[in-house]
């Protein structure tokens, strides 16, 4: 960084009244100046709101008296108590967890398959690679609406075909039925239908994200490695297991963290698909309901804090025990 660079202006042309700043001081100032707009925006719209959420979570505030809310309000644990003891709190936490783990797994799994399959050359590869990304780039409102219609018992082709070709007795309300009794070899199993549908949606919408990252990494794997394995007589699955997978592991670990965080916090997908009904009430939808149905800002903030705290705990567990590789790789 510090290299010989001509002075930016000769003193003769630009006389300075005070003693000139050193190079590193000037650089320091410029750096901070260039970043200051970012700092201001992030501070005002992100950092302060987060701190404020913490304060709101410990005050009894409803939308009506929000104008009087300030730093020096009356602090209380009532919100947390309300949130932790309200019916459905634990079940929504479990729902969030199941939803997050399922969606993370499926998006990475299918992303990996897509990356492996679309890696080699074939006619039309560029177009196929681009099309695969469509679910990810399309607006969430449009694709959730599309899924609702596709799966609708009234309009959708899925139920129509299910009844016509697969011998279903009647249309299945995929997004509004909490449980569906399936009989497998005479066993009757209750499956959480709406939750599974939402997880499938997430897998569909976000596998392109994993695909992008995994493909980028796959293309960086030197060809000699695999060629050597082929010469040695390794089967494709063996060469995948022993050559590609170790190379992909760091990206998979990173994707797991990213997808987990994003899905855990996700609001719009579930809200738009089911409105949080039929056993799909994830915590972020609960926050929204506290805010808009009950106008209870304090409780909503407390619930949001619980969400953030849960995420942090899970991430710490993951980073400490399950993914020791991530830290090494990030150097």
């Amino acid at each position: 960084m510090v290299t010989t660079r001509a002075p930016e202006a000769t003193p003769a042309r630009k006389p300075r009244a005070k003693r000139p700043l050193t190079r590193s001081q000037r650089e320091n100032r410029a750096g901070l100046a260039y970043l200051s707009p970012t700092f201001i925006v992030v501070l005002v719209v992100v950092v302060l709101p987060i701190l404020w959420t913490v304060m709101l979570a410990f005050q009894r505030i409803r939308l009506i008296n929000v104008r009087r809310a300030g730093v020096f309000g009356r602090y209380t644990l009532a919100n947390l108590e309300l949130v932790l003891t309200s019916p459905g709190f634990w079940s929504s936490l479990w729902t969030t967890l199941a939803y997050t783990i399922g969606a993370t797994f499926f998006s990475i799994f299918f992303g990996l398959i897509a990356a492996l399959v679309l890696r080699g050359k074939f006619p039309g590869r560029t177009l196929v690679r681009a099309s695969v990304l469509l679910p990810y780039v399309a607006p969430v409102v449009a694709v959730t609406f599309l899924w609702k219609i596709m799966l609708s018992p009234q309009f959708g082709f899925v139920n129509n075909w299910g009844v016509r070709f697969l011998g279903w007795d009647r249309p299945i309300a995929f997004l509004s039925q909490r449980e569906y009794t399936m009989s497998i070899f005479g066993w009757h199993v209750d499956v959480p239908l709406a939750l599974l549908t939402v997880i499938a949606f997430e897998g569909w919408r976000y596998f392109p994200f994993a695909f992008l990252f995994l493909l980028a990494r796959l293309q960086a794997v030197p060809h000699e490695l695999e060629e050597a394995a082929v010469v040695d007589g390794a089967a494709p699955t063996q060469s995948f297991r022993h050559i590609l997978l170790p190379q992909l592991m760091p990206v998979i670990a990173l994707l797991t963290v990213l997808r987990f965080i994003m899905t855990f916090n996700k609001f719009d997908d579930v809200y738009l698909l089911t409105g949080g009904g039929a056993g799909t009430q994830v915590v972020s939808v609960r926050v929204y309901e506290f805010l808009t149905a009950r106008f209870d800002i304090g409780a909503a903030a407390a619930q949001a804090l619980v969400l953030a705290a849960g995420l942090i705990v899970l991430l710490v567990i993951y980073l400490r025990f399950l993914a020791p590789r991530v830290e090494e790789e990030e150097r």
Binding site: V42, V141, Y288, A304
Partner: protein, 288 residues
């Protein structure tokens, strides 16, 4: 037979099967969206299982209804499109204005706290937007910014600047510094160097970035819902579609036309700049 040979043969077939499934799974829903948007509603209700309709059966009345202003009995999506465009374009421009100098500072300049900047960005990324939603809802209500497109734009800037800086920084660090040093020898000031040397060289990354921010802003739903829901004239396309699809007054094929109107700009942009975008998004990821 040898395991390697068997597997190679099986996988060769399986690969094509998987490619076909991938294409169907990703493209068919969008084809279905287009198809439904041009089918008359009564015909759809009679034959929900049909996935093809000849041009003779197509209708454009759905598009007419969805685009006509609500004063004239339509759904007013033209107005929503304009709102979305205003918010997305201004969010894109302002984000670039903020993040280009920021990315330059992070990649090139030594300053106090340079190493800590990353944590700040990580925090933005980590915290659920629903967590920010509450205080911003309160704050913007107080400032009178709730219900204004301007307030929404500010939120989008804050949400996209960190990622934008991260993407640009990765690209800037690939530009050799000797170029800038040469410019300095020629007597360019730092701002001149950025404008005349760095910006032209980073143009592909900046374009990719602009598209990325535009997409986020165009597709966003939660904040639009929280801030703009009260006044129909302020709705963005995403919000408008979501609001109307909840009710039963508007027929589903008309809403499908609305979905097409919402999706089309993004898909066109995406295919126009697909390579730029995918490379920009994963820049640095291939380093592990």
């Amino acid at each position: 037979m040898d395991r390697a040979i068997v597997e190679t043969r099986v996988l060769r077939v399986l690969r094509w099967v998987v490619i076909a499934v991938l294409i169907i799974v990703t493209l068919f829903p969008f084809f279905y969206m287009l198809l439904l948007s041009v089918r008359p509603i009564d015909e759809l209700l009679q034959n929900p299982g049909r996935i093809w309709a000849g041009p003779a059966e197509w209708t454009v009345r759905t598009y007419k209804e969805v685009l006509t202003s609500s004063a004239k009995g339509g759904q007013g999506f033209l107005k929503f499109l304009a709102n979305s465009a205003i918010v997305s374009i201004s969010a894109t421009l302002l984000t670039l204005l903020v993040s280009i100098p920021g990315a330059y500072a992070v990649s090139r300049l030594k300053f106090v706290g340079r190493r800590q900047v990353h944590f700040l960005f990580l925090a933005v990324y980590l915290f659920p937007s629903i967590l920010l939603a509450i205080p911003l809802f309160v704050l913007f209500t107080r400032l009178g910014l709730r219900g204004s497109l301007f307030g929404l734009t500010i939120v989008y800037i804050a949400q996209t600047v960190p990622v934008s800086i991260y993407m640009l920084r990765n690209y800037l660090s690939t530009i050799p510094e000797s170029l800038e040093e040469a410019a300095a020898v020629d007597g360019y000031s730092r701002l001149q160097t950025i404008r005349k040397i760095v910006l032209p060289l980073a143009a592909p990354a900046i374009m990719a970035n602009a598209l990325y921010v535009f997409m986020i802003a165009w597709n966003e739903y939660l904040f639009a819902l929280l801030f703009l829901v009260e006044n129909r004239a302020d709705w963005t396309v995403s919000l408008g579609l979501a609001q109307l699809s909840g009710g039963i007054e508007v027929s589903k094929t008309v809403l499908m036309a609305g979905s097409v109107v919402l999706t089309l700009p993004i898909v066109v942009l995406f295919f126009a700049a697909e390579r730029l975008l995918t490379e920009g998004l994963t820049a640095g990821a291939d380093k592990g």
